[in-house]
Symmetry: C2
Subunit: 400 residues, 2 copies
């Protein structure tokens, strides 16, 4: 059977029909700008991509549309044998450290966690609600972005904040992109023919959102995102780490509200805030044209990454693998080379030939003599979610 | 001649009369709780400490009182030959990268920088104003906590924030405790008989406030405090690094104002927020009594320090010296040992015998075989300020 993986954003619905055993995406698609006057829709199956504009009132309409596209453009979902629907949910708080079968209680809890992820959890919950209504005959499973990091040790997940305030308001490091960090660290071990228990790994998930993790023998011991996905690395449009007093300063001196600063830090900062663009292909083109702001943006991005690598080397004591993944990590050999530059003191280096170009299969990119294996391991979050669904539904491990 | 060094806080005045050549503090004192109904006053001279309670209306009264104590308890300031008055100023913004002779224009600029340091700069300016009035016949010099870090490279002092907002409101990493980081890194080199230009040093200034710096050949290349002294390490009462979205979360869900969160992060967090106490002697006593919150506070504190050491090792590429300083760094051998534990992979280790106890003279505490020299170097901020005053006043380098 196959698994339909759904990712419901505030104004978009992404879907992918996955074969959890073979690992391939059978079909995939996206409905964007839900609720606006015109929504771009894209559906890919058997190498054919169909694009069109539709009017899509809400998430229910978006999912109905997607199910219709399966009927119209293939594959026939009845034939594909949808075994389960897997929902990506951003925030599981302290309640969910594993994927769970969705029932009314789980759905209510996902809604209750909305204060921790006000943009994401309500949309995720709506997506689940709609999907259960339209596909009531298959089990639905929620897979949480935070779940993998629920095992962080207390010294890593605790902020140096008043303990009563932290407890009362759930303020701690949760971490995100957990499915990706777990998948990539496991995949790196399998590719190397090693047991994940024997490896210390740093995963650098560098997409539009970006996060780093330190994983000791399969268990995460640090990660860069915190209470929310704002903390940590420089991202496409997010600041990552910044003096929290910048918030106080801007509210007092720039006539901004807290909501304004939230918007500024999350949507108008990062690479885009420094350079005007947030796609790394464009950033490199600007640098080639001599744009100094673009150069500074890249320098700040790389500097932050180096600091995290060093920091996690200290936490792990010994680093066996550094795995680059996601849009930038897989495709941008310049970023990979710059992060590892000048790090031979830490046993880290890049081989320019091995590193060259975009990477679509797991690959080692460090020289033979380097102590730490630098790798590129393409992430497959939908596949990882699909497999976790099967585990929950069957009580079996499909990768075993 | 001698130099009178003044540190004017919002409700306190600290003073020290320093011999900038010999390096000793001739006399020192503090007036606390200025403006309250009763102010504790302390004056130390020639091994005698006098303590009493006085009524002190404002900073002018505090300085008059201090000058009176010199007359009453010694030394006689006329005899001591006060050559200059040195003022510690917290924020120099982008205007001051060196100590300067105070005139009306400098004083106005220090006031203008108040939005960047609303608690400190107004008090510093008041202290200068009063001192110039009462001691009009000697030159006054302002020495800025931020000055040393004005030479941070752009990739280290730039936040990944919208460039227009950053420019308009002076939002960047400034760094603080600069006088201490500069003094300690220079002193470490002198003690080792090396040129500061040849050494890469990490300074860990661990007092009630705490900050780390990476110094490459005498030039700072990173530091942990940012726009304000809130960012970075876990401190006595400050959070240090925390997801800035925690501010948004508490304002929205905890009924707190931005001022409440500022107060929470700066005064009710850190070691105190986690354990109830902010003095490390008390913290260790609590841990010995089995207090789990105190243990967690120490674990969080040490974990953050390890991350900074690793991070700065990556930035520097090679670390020759790690120098511990200030109240905790000089006196707490347990903290020093824990920070360096499990770091042999980075060439960092502690020798338990060399490390044992409190340290009052610069000392190496790493084993002979370790690549990186771990040192304890007591900071002498007043002496460093006094020497910088003399440099400014005489146009000479008193250490040459
Ligand atoms: N060929 C490429 N070279 C450099 N960067 C690329 C390339 N292709 C994609 N990217 C980067 O990857 C980013 C998207 O990464 P992705 O992992 O898909 O992000 P997310 O899932 O967080 O939205 C783009 O914004 C772009 O910066
Ligand atoms: N013997 C000691 N052992 C451990 N910690 C000590 C000892 N003496 C002082 N400290 C710590 O040093 C701190 C003060 O450091 P200091 O550098 O004077 O701070 P600041 O100048 O930032 O106010 C105290 O709060 C205490 O935690």
């Amino acid at each position: 059977g196959s698994v339909l993986v759904l990712n419901s954003g505030s104004s978009s619905l992404k879907y992918q029909l996955v074969n959890p055993v073979g690992g391939e995406a059978i079909a995939s698609g996206i409905v964007e700008r839900i609720g606006e006057s015109s929504s771009p829709v894209k559906h890919t199956f058997a190498g054919n991509t169909t694009q069109r504009e539709e009017q899509v009132a809400d998430h229910a309409a978006a999912l109905e549309l997607a199910l219709g596209l399966f009927g119209e453009l293939g594959p026939d979902l009845a034939h594909a044998g949808v075994h389960a629907v897997g929902h990506r949910v951003v925030h599981g708080g302290e309640l969910f450290s594993d994927p769970v079968l969705v029932d009314d209680d789980v759905l209510a809890k996902i809604r209750d966690l909305s204060p921790l992820a006000p943009l994401h959890n309500p949309a995720n919950a709506t997506g689940i609600e709609v999907a259960r209504r339209l596909m009531g005959d298959v089990p639905h499973v929620a897979v949480f972005d935070t779940a993998f990091f629920q095992s962080l040790p207390a010294h890593a997940h605790t902020y140096a904040l008043d303990r009563e305030v932290a407890r009362a308001h759930g303020v701690r490091r949760y971490g995100f992109h957990g499915t990706s960090h777990q998948y990539v660290s496991g995949k790196a071990a399998r590719v190397l023919g090693r047991r994940v228990q024997d490896l210390n790994t740093i995963v650098l998930h560098l997409g539009n959102g970006a996060s780093a993790s330190a994983i000791e023998g399969g268990t995460p011991v640090e990660t860069s995102m915190g209470l929310t996905p704002l903390e940590g690395l420089v991202m496409g449009t997010r600041t990552g780490d910044i003096d929290p007093a910048v918030v106080f300063h801007l509210v007092r001196n720039a006539g901004m509200s807290v909501d304004d600063v939230d918007d500024l830090f999350n949507k108008r900062s990062g690479i885009k805030g420094l350079s005007g663009e947030n796609d790394f292909r464009e950033l490199h083109a600007m640098i080639a044209r001599g744009d100094e702001d673009a150069q500074l943006a890249l320098d700040v991005y790389i500097h932050r990454l180096k600091k995290y690598v060093g920091s996690y080397a200290a936490v792990l004591g010994r680093v066996d693998v550094i795995a680059f993944t996601a849009g930038v990590g897989e495709n941008d050999d310049v970023v990979r080379a710059l992060v590892c530059e000048g790090m031979t003191g830490l046993g880290i280096a890049i081989d320019p030939e091995r590193n060259a170009g975009r990477v679509s299969e797991p690959r080692i990119v460090s020289p033979a003599w380097a102590q730490t294996l630098v790798m590129v391991v393409p992430t497959m979050e939908e596949l990882a979610i699909a497999r976790q669904c099967i585990e929950v539904v069957d009580g079996l491990d499909p990768t075993a």
